[in-house]
């Protein structure tokens, strides 16, 4: 049940901040994350839960995917978060500190029980499992494949470096293995992999470098903590004009050859087979070009 969102950017919005919540949809992020976990003080968890619930009922978040990060089930807040949020069926629920498939099983069971109580189907809201500990990194493949409801894996770099007792550095050196392992687990299960935040909001060049590296190694997109970070990330994750031109040429040739029953053909002297066509499809979809228009 993978959803058709681009997920180049995922903007964190603190769950107890009405001003930011009500404006969440205007920044143009592909995805917004209403946060009930780390962005909310422990003595305001109840207030944030009720506020986010009300905002989900009444605020227009435009075209952004709306995700809610709940507290873990092993805290006093997790179950109450799910009971308040699941009936409203945001696009997705983000689960922090996912470490094992068993933990995910308990969570999905809780979600589906709430859905049953409200006569809701189990196929509308997806789950994003967030990997933030060494144990989670080790188990990520099992987590990614555990349920069809999991359609994205995200990495939380700050918690992960804390769990590993290492410094969080701009080059992300300490979490490089974790990033790549998470990407592989996501790709192997055909779901999205979302990169961690870049915390220095004044370092534009550092952000671009980090996002470009994350794209190169296979992330679908990147979490952002400030609306200023959205545009540079979209620029990096969006295809260039040249890429779109080439993809258009490949896809046009694919449609023409398919009609003639030809599976492998050449474009500009280079062999085109199914993987090349898949890459072209991906580029065209990122560029908002409807594949049906080639028919």
């Amino acid at each position: 049940m993978k959803k058709n969102f681009k997920r180049r950017s995922m903007l964190y919005i603190p769950g107890n901040n009405p001003a930011m919540l009500q404006q969440g949809g205007v920044y143009g992020a592909d995805s917004i994350l209403l946060d009930l976990e780390d962005a909310v003080a422990l003595n305001q968890k109840d207030a944030a839960r009720i506020l986010v619930r009300n905002m989900l009922k009444s605020i227009n978040f435009y075209n952004s995917e709306v995700s809610v990060r709940v507290n873990p089930l092993n805290t006093p807040f997790g179950k109450a978060d799910l009971e308040a949020i699941v009936p409203l069926q945001p696009d997705s629920i983000r689960i922090p500190k996912t470490e094992t498939a068993e933990q995910l099983a308990e969570l999905i069971e809780t979600i589906e029980k709430i859905e049953d109580e409200h006569n809701l189907t189990h196929d509308k809201m997806t789950i994003h499992a967030m990997i933030e500990t060494a144990l989670g990194v080790q188990n990520v493949f099992e987590i990614a494949k555990f349920s069809k409801r999991v359609d994205a894996i995200t990495i939380g770099g700050q918690d992960l470096t804390a769990d590993m007792n290492i410094a969080s550095t701009k080059d992300g050196g300490g979490i490089d293995f974790a990033r790549k392992r998470i990407i592989m687990a996501a790709k192997a299960n055909n779901i999205d992999a979302i990169d961690t935040v870049f915390v220095d909001i004044d370092d534009d060049e550092g952000l671009k470098k980090d996002a470009a590296y994350a794209k190169k190694i296979g992330f679908t997109g990147k979490a952002v903590i400030n609306p200023r970070q959205i545009e540079p990330i979209h620029d990096i994750y969006s295809p260039t004009d040249e890429e779109i031109r080439k993809a258009t040429k490949v896809y046009k040739a694919f449609v023409k050859n398919t009609k003639e029953g030809i599976g492998v053909f050449a474009v500009d002297g280079k062999m085109v087979d199914r993987p090349v066509v898949q890459r072209a499809e991906h580029i065209l979809s990122l560029a908002d070009i409807d594949l049906q228009s080639f028919e």
Binding site: N17, P18, A19, Q22, L42, N43, K45, D46, A47, R49, I50, L51, R53, N54, M55, K57, S58, I59, P76, F77, G78, K79, A80, D81
Partner: protein
């Protein structure tokens, strides 16, 4: 229902509202005071959002002060609900 504790929810931040509630003696009614820069335009809406929550929880006797900083209705409702639940001691999933 009878309130038990003095409690508050919200803040003085822009787009928020601070709501303070405390129990009142039985049959003294609702004493609601609202301050807002947009009182003339939206005072009635703010009061309705608050009284809707009081009606839902059947709160007949209360002293309530609201300091509005331009909150939208869903925020006003949320802060009123939080303050009432805290005052009733029925808030689950909190410290």
């Amino acid at each position: 229902m009878q309130l038990k504790y003095r409690s508050k929810a919200g803040s003085f931040e822009s787009s928020d509202i601070l709501i303070i509630v405390e129990p009142a003696e039985e049959k003294t009614g609702r004493d609601i005071k609202i301050n807002s820069a947009v009182m003339l335009q939206f005072g009635e809406s703010i009061e309705k959002a608050i009284t809707d929550v009081l009606n839902k929880y059947q709160i007949d006797d209360i002293r309530l002060i609201a300091q509005d900083k331009g909150a939208l209705i869903p925020t006003i409702s949320a802060r009123a609900e939080t303050a009432i639940k805290r005052s009733l001691g029925i808030q689950e999933g909190t410290l």
